[in-house]
């Protein structure tokens, strides 16, 4: 597909870009390992006092941690850099260049930058996830695997759409970068299953800042907790939010190019 082809080209350029910085690969690995170690040590402290956290057993939590890093890696790899760059481009007018290219501007703007080092987070997360699954020893049914993949995809689409809506606000407001920070901070809450949070916080993490769909929901799919309601909500949410993001983007572009409403 054309989008994938373009993405590959942009990704290659991003790799070259980051290589130009000569960021030490080992330092990056060290940092991710440290983060992972911290997570696991924290879990060890918690689980020294209990066998189950809100119904989640140690290996299930481990899977959640893996997903947290995995999705964090996806966000850091291709969602955050593009959206951040988009806000800058709107502000300094370099979006004009994107708009004179014969490709869909939303596509170009979304894939224009990739932070290659986030791949480390992604792979580490995957590693932890696999380790957790091995330890759980309860076999995974094909249905669970499919549900997990679907929920992971839906979660990524939801997060992408959410970020795009926020980034598109820069067509109307200045200094929108701070808004993107909201997701970063609230994503920290995604380390833990959102079922343990009080109702109001659960609501916020599901419907206001969709962290729940990024981490907990895929983890639920993997650990056999996924209810049909949640499954449906995630899928509908992904489609709905994606369409909404497209709408906001289109409206934003019209505003940027001075089209009458």
């Amino acid at each position: 597909m054309n989008a994938l082809r373009l993405f590959a080209v942009f990704f290659r350029v991003s790799v070259l870009n980051e290589a130009a910085y000569r960021v030490n690969f080992f330092v990056q690995v060290f940092q991710t390992l440290l983060e992972l170690g911290t997570s696991l040590a924290g879990l060890a402290v918690i689980y020294s006092y209990t066998q189950s956290l809100g119904g989640w057993r140690p290996n299930e939590m481990l899977a959640l941690v893996g997903i947290f890093f995995l999705v964090g890696g996806i966000i850091g790899l291709i969602i955050q850099p593009g959206m951040s760059a988009l806000i800058d481009a709107v502000r300094d007018g370099t979006l004009d260049f994107t708009l004179t290219k014969p490709e869909d501007a939303q596509l170009l703007a979304s894939i224009q930058k990739a932070a290659v080092w986030s791949l480390i987070d992604l792979l580490m997360g995957l590693g932890v996830l696999v380790a957790a699954l091995v330890r759980m020893r309860t076999g995974l049914s094909a249905g669970q695997v499919v549900a997990f993949a679907a929920m992971l995809l839906a979660g990524s689409v939801i997060v992408y759409s959410f970020w795009l809506i926020l980034a598109s606000l820069s067509f109307w407001f200045v200094r929108v970068e701070n808004l993107l920070e909201i997701f970063r901070s609230m994503y920290e809450a995604g380390r833990w299953p959102i079922s343990i949070y009080p109702g109001w916080l659960r609501f916020g993490l599901t419907f206001l800042v969709p962290v729940a769909f990024a981490t907990t929901v895929p983890a639920e799919a993997l650990t056999g907790r996924l209810g049909p309601g949640t499954l449906f909500l995630a899928l509908a949410g992904a489609v709905g939010l994606f369409l909404l993001a497209r709408l906001v983007w289109t409206l934003g572009l019209r505003r940027y190019s001075g089209a009458s409403a």
Partner: protein, 273 residues
């Protein structure tokens, strides 16, 4: 030089910085709200996690009930707010931009401007966090044994904690003189803080050997100690011990700051601003 004169100049500097910071923060209203969210969220998450553990373990973990955890994390949020700094990021930026040269040219030691900026920002954000603390208090029903003498001792402990943490983190910020990998440094520090200052869990819940380690290191004295004191979880002897440790570490950090700063300026000037 007349010391009184110096002090008055210092006072004026702090007042001026307060005005500047206030004006800047008013501009960045939106980021203040967002910042408040993250400042509240972290202790809130741990509060909920430990409450969940507590509820699943027969109502308490160690000497902490759900109410105890609520009190702990609400006070922790406020103490953390009072003592935290962002100075490492500042210095990384300043060294990269070369704007540090300006600070070096001033007759006053740059640390004063930084302290002033830190305090002024907190004055602005304090009402927001007090509001948040109030809301959390209503939502989670904290419980603590308040003792007048402990509350009285809390204030000096808090001041010492602030100074200690500021000096340590300011010294850490100077790493920017020597390396561009400041984020790796900072991360190690944050991890140590997370575990050993009482943020991940009240230190009383750690195994004995870890508590001893935490006693010797400075991190507890930056955050956890004032919190434990305020909540009436320490006896008078422990309080005195704690204040003593704070003072000792403060003295040590003063020496460290002087040492590192001198060296750092030499390195910075050698490279050429």
């Amino acid at each position: 030089m007349n010391t009184l004169y110096e002090l008055r100049d210092l006072g004026k500097l702090y007042a001026q910085q307060l005005r500047t910071t206030f004006a800047t923060m008013v501009q960045y209203r939106a980021s203040l709200i967002i910042w408040t969210i993250s400042a509240v969220l972290e202790p809130l998450v741990y509060l909920v996690v430990w409450t969940t553990v507590s509820n699943g373990s027969g109502g308490s973990v160690g000497s902490y009930t759900a109410g105890g955890f609520a009190a702990y994390y609400i006070v922790l949020m406020l103490v953390n707010q009072a003592t935290y700094t962002w100075i490492m990021y500042e210095y990384e930026y300043r060294v990269r931009q070369g704007s540090l040269s300006f600070s070096l040219l001033r007759p006053v030691h740059p640390i004063h401007a930084d302290i002033a900026d830190n305090l002024s920002s907190k004055l602005v954000t304090l009402p927001l966090l007090l509001g948040a603390a109030l809301v959390l208090g209503l939502l989670f029903r904290p419980s603590a044994v308040l003792q007048p003498w402990a509350i009285a001792a809390f204030l000096p402990a808090l001041v010492l904690a602030f100074l200690l943490r500021f000096l340590v983190e300011w010294t850490l910020a100077l790493a920017a003189f020597w390396t561009t990998r400041v984020s790796a440094f900072n991360q190690v520090y944050f991890v140590l803080m997370l575990f050993l200052s009482g943020q991940l869990a009240p230190l009383a819940l750690f195994p004995g050997w870890l508590q001893t380690v935490a006693f010797v290191l400075p991190f507890r004295w930056m955050v956890g100690f004032p919190v434990e004191l305020a909540l009436g979880r320490l006896g008078p002897l422990q309080a005195v011990e704690g204040l003593g440790m704070q003072a000792a570490w403060l003295g040590l950090s003063l020496l460290l700051v002087r040492f590192v700063w001198k060296r750092g300026v030499r390195v910075y000037s050698a490279v050429g601003a």
